[in-house]
Amino acid sequence: MTTDSPSEKRLEELREQAWKDGVIPGKGVDVAGGPIPRKPGYYGQPVVKPPVWTWEVPLYFFFGGIAGMSAVIASGAVIFQHVDLARAAMWLAAIAGAVLSPILLIMDLGRPHLFLNMLRVFKHRSAMSMGAWILSAFGACVVPGLIALELHAHQVFTGSFDQILRLAAGIFIFGSAIFGTLLATYTGVLIGATAIPAWFLHRTLLPIHFGTAGLGSAAAVLELLGHRIPALNFIGFYAAAVESALLIWLSVDKHGAADRAIHEHGSGWLIRIGEILNGPLALVLRFFGLVPLAAISFLLGALISRVGWIAVGKVSGSDPESVFAAERY
């Protein structure tokens, strides 16, 4: 056998790679490191812990966003006398915000039976604590608001009690709108103020994205429920335009190795696909008057990008080089 035969060349290659990398990956050969490991950090171990959150969390972000912004739409509808739309929006806000969101949030806990411990303390420096209180306050406004609105709409009572109901509905719906905007946006603060590089480097983008995706999603659901009015169409245009701008911002605002989970890893594509669906695609579909398609595209995008952001957090948190690179900023 001559030294330049392919098999000998292969062995030469292996030797060179072993010298260069300190480790040779191969099928059936599971070696973590050579004598002088050249993996980043300490044997490539994560420096910060990746999130332990599972599928409930992105779904909660999705429904929390719909619920919160639905209450905002309900307020607008009440002010401008769209009673049917206001009722539908309040039902949506109540189901998504007072039923689905708490269930998802409790399911995600490691010890669901202790969920009430969230309300033991009020800590403004903890976005998780603020979120628990925002969700509670939202629920405490949206449920009585819906009941008062329905009783008033069906004229169950007459006279002065009906007037009181009307006033109560107004106050509670307005209250749900205020807490609703926070419910839809705080989730961006929640993951933005953490030690995960891909998250904290985009802490200004996240609340804008989550809040606006919530507003567009609420309008989209209401449109799919049959409320095809110009006001909701305008909200759809607005949300899709903002999301398109965020897509551009995200592709320009790169931080090299620090947020490479977004730009180089597959999970980053979930964010981009989501942003394309609820940004440019929803915008174009709406422009051509294909409202139901635009609504579906926006909703899908809002959900997929939420899943993507949690997935990216797991990748970014497991990557020691991202943490080191982020700290050099």
Binding site: R120, I191, P230, Y238
Partner: protein
């Protein structure tokens, strides 16, 4: 210094909890022998469950990293650098640079840093994580509901949620600084068993002075890259369990400039409030101009 044996602060009874004295750990890899007595003592005293046997292939470290069921972790670093004034290569032969094969094996027992400004403590929505009289950070297991927010808020990746089917699964766990022992005047289990005083327990101010002295001593002995790891200049504002390290912190998986995530709150909330206001305005405009 090193070698005080039974006279060291590791063996003496104390009343730091009653006297509200800030205490700390000073961990010194230059005298660690990698025996893992600290890991064993920690698991035994605190009833930390066995979280599986795996062969990592990473030197003699089969523990991996700190987590919900690992509160002390002895690291084994293999580096192609000389250790102090050690002579590597064939001993006694005429020095030939080509025969030099610098190599050092460094052991360091990692632990929760008990930050001055603790990310986990700030993040905890239940008030389960508290600051004790001695300045340590303690998780009250019976209060924790396992929301997992402390996990992503720790800049050192220490605290974690314990997975099923381990004992007490679902809650977040980390080093308690043996608060239960300290209340009774006892020294944390890991420091008590350390045979070389690589882990020293004592008053924080004493330890900081001791650490600075040890760095000087080592540098004079040829350990040019000996330094203290105690990020007092960042928003973490110093740690109660600090380390002497040889070389750069990254090699130990320690973040060079750890930050407490609460510093990001201001810009994130500003964006949130701006989005909230913009959404309300957009909705009002929609109904006012597109009836």
């Amino acid at each position: 210094m090193i070698g005080e044996g039974l006279q060291s602060t590791n063996q003496r009874k104390h009343s730091y909890v009653q006297d509200h004295v800030e205490v700390g750990f000073f961990t010194d890899p230059s005298v660690c022998i990698g025996c893992k007595a600290c890991e064993v003592a920690c698991k035994e005293w605190n009833h930390v469950p066995d979280d599986g046997y795996t062969w990592s292939g990473n030197s003699y470290d089969n523990t991996g990293h700190l987590g919900a069921s690992t509160w002390r972790h002895v690291m084994f670093l293999e580096q192609d650098r000389p250790k102090g004034n050690q002579v590597a290569g064939p001993m006694g032969l005429p020095t030939d640079p080509r025969l030099e094969d610098p190599f050092r094996w460094v052991f360091l027992s990692d632990v929760c840093k008990h930050c001055e400004e603790a990310g986990c403590l700030e993040a905890c929505p239940t008030g389960s994580i508290v600051r004790t009289e001695v300045g340590s950070v303690l998780v009250q297991n019976d209060v924790c509901n396992g929301c997992g927010y402390c996990v992503v808020s720790c800049p050192f990746g220490v605290i974690d949620r314990r997975p099923e089917p381990l004992h007490d699964a679902g809650g977040a766990f980390k080093c308690t600084f043996c608060y239960d022992r300290q209340k009774s005047g006892l020294v944390p289990a890991c420091a008590k068993v350390c045979p070389t005083e690589s882990i020293v327990f004592g008053r924080l101010d004493d330890l900081r002075a001791r650490g600075a002295e040890r760095v000087q001593q080592l540098q004079q002995s040829g350990y040019a890259d000996a330094q203290l790891y105690d990020p007092t200049e960042t928003s973490v504002r110093g740690i109660h369990a600090f380390f002497l390290i040889l070389g750069e912190p990254e090699a130990y998986g320690l973040p060079p400039k750890p930050q407490i995530p609460t510093i990001y709150l201001k810009s994130a909330w500003t964006a949130a409030f701006a989005t909230a206001i913009a959404s309300i305005i957009a909705t009002l405009v929609a109904f006012a101009f597109f009836p």
